[in-house]
Each structure stands twice: as structure tokens, then as C-alpha cells.
Amino acid sequence: MNPYNYLYVAGLLFTIGAIGVIVRRNAIVVFMCIELMLNAANLTLVTFSRINGTLEGQVTAFFTMVVAACEVVVGLAIIIAIYRSRRSASIDDASLLKR
């Protein structure tokens, strides 16, 4: 096997995460799918870091993890704020800007 095989797994995980973002209606599940896409991108960075023999990819993956942690904190706070005012965690219900 060669290290490029990890890239296939990362690509598939990214694609599945993208389907989840489009198809699922629960805001928390959509958010989890976004996390899956971020993780797939990280796996790509680490794999290329190994293929190229430098640690730069790992540093970038580390930064991505920190940004993802921030994103989770703020995103979940937004979901809670929406849930508090609308009593629903469905992304279809948060359509106030449409009207």
C-alpha cells in the first residue's frame, strides 16, 4: 500500500460530510457533519506532511484543530440561542430572514 490511500479515505469522508450538511435537518447533526469535513481535511494535511517529509502540514493541521474548537464553541452557543427563542433545533425553522 502507499500513503496516498489515506487521501482516498479523507476524500470519501469529506464527501459524506458534505451530503450530511445538505440532507440532514437537525442543526446539531449538520454541525457534526461540518466537523467530519474539517477532520477529513486535517487527515489530508497530515498525509501530505508525511509524503513531503516536512512538519509544516502537521502545524497547519494543529491550527485547524484550534480553529475547529473555537468554531464548535461559538456554533453550539448559536444553536442554543436559537433553540431558546424558537424552541426548535431544526434548520428549516430558522428562516426569519426569508420573510
Binding site: 500500500m1 476524500g11 442543526a27 457533519c33
Partner: protein, 256 residues
Amino acid sequence: MLTIQTPEAVMFWVLGPLSVIAAIGMLVVKKAVHSALLLAWIMITIALFYIAQDAVFLGIVQIVVYTGAVMMLFLFILMLVGVDASDSLTETIPGLRAIAITAALGFGGLLVSLISRATLGRPALGLAEANKDGNVQGLAKLLFSDYVFAFEAISALLITAALGAMVLAHHQRTVARPTQREQAIARFRTGSLASAAGLPNPGVYARHNAVDVPALLPDGTPAPNSISATLKARGDMLESNQFELGEVDNTVQEEK
């Protein structure tokens, strides 16, 4: 020059398909909690991939940050929000699912064919040279020299995110809490008098003393507001007519 040992290949061929299957499972399971558990499994397999690829520090960070902190936060929020109708897998926009799957097949096929055709034009190097002082030491050298400004900026981002979460989650009452007197007046003056005496108890007229059986109204129809909305959303509600007098099995004789 990088050679991949057999144990790593075995690990990849076992965990790689399992992680993809778990990801597909995330899309098709109904309950958000099950999605979260499947996602935790995917995170663990990705951490093992990192460790196998000589990114030991990132593998440990992945387990601590993702399966530890982030997934815990997700489960915590799931507990706060509870179960509601948005868990259902029904399609709200017609044709959305077909379009999404077609587009994803196209995108995934493009990615896979691109990876299989592209080549860097040189053999994979491996991290033995870069990690010769240790993975953590190598990362630390980079983080605190070339990437020190990015590192500082990201620490500022973390603090800002923590503050932002506190601001967003802080709940300030815009109107005063209604007193008991105001609540009593509101019960009688607004709308119908149906709920003036409080909501009906479950199962009162249903010959069943359970919370998941709605009470029967005088005309024999079940009263939907007699059971908890959570039980209704979860689909745990029983039909009250299965406890009707004619249906109940009373052939068993009492012992004398």
C-alpha cells in the same frame, strides 16, 4: 524513501472502510445521539491514522480535543436541546436528497479519480528525517519560530471564542418574570377556558396508569396535551383504544 510496514497496512485496511461505513451511518441513523457516537468512532480512527503516520502529537491532541472535549460538548448540547421532530429523515425540499447524492457522487468521483491519476513526481519521503529529534520537539521548533505570529493570533482567537460563547449563551430576561397572580389571570382571561384547571393527566380514562397513554376526552378521542411533548416527538406514545373495556382480556379468573 518511505516504506510502509505490514501492520500499518493491515490497520488501514481494517479501519479505513470502518470509518467510511461509520460516516455513512451518521447520515442514515435517526437519532442525533447515535450520529454523535458514530462521529466519535470516526475521530478515534482518524487519531489512529495520525499516530500511524508519525504524527504522534496530533494523534493524542485529536483524541483529547475531539473525542474528549468537542464530542462531550456535542452530547451536552444534545442533552440540553432534547429530542424533537427535526430528527426525522423526511425530505422537506422535494428532490433535495437526489440532487445532493448526485452532486456528491460527482464530487467524490472527481476527488478519487484526481488522487488516483495525480502524482507528485517523486517518491514519498516519510517523516523519519523531520522527526529525528522527536515529533513534539520538531513541531515546537516550527510553532515557536516560523509560525509564532500565527500561534499568537490563534491564542487571541481562542480567547475571543470563549468570550463570544459566553455572550451568546448569556440569557437576559427582557420582561419581568410573571407572578403567580398574573399567571392565574392569564389562564382565565386569554383564549379558552380549557386549560384553566391545568392540563389533563395522562391515562386517566384509559384504564392504564402509564404516562405514555393519552387520556380520553368525554367523546372517546385521546387528549393530545395530556402527555409530555418529548414522548410524543420520540414516538413513544401508545394508543389509548387498546385499553378499551371490550378489548381488555378479562378471562383470567381471580383466585379464591
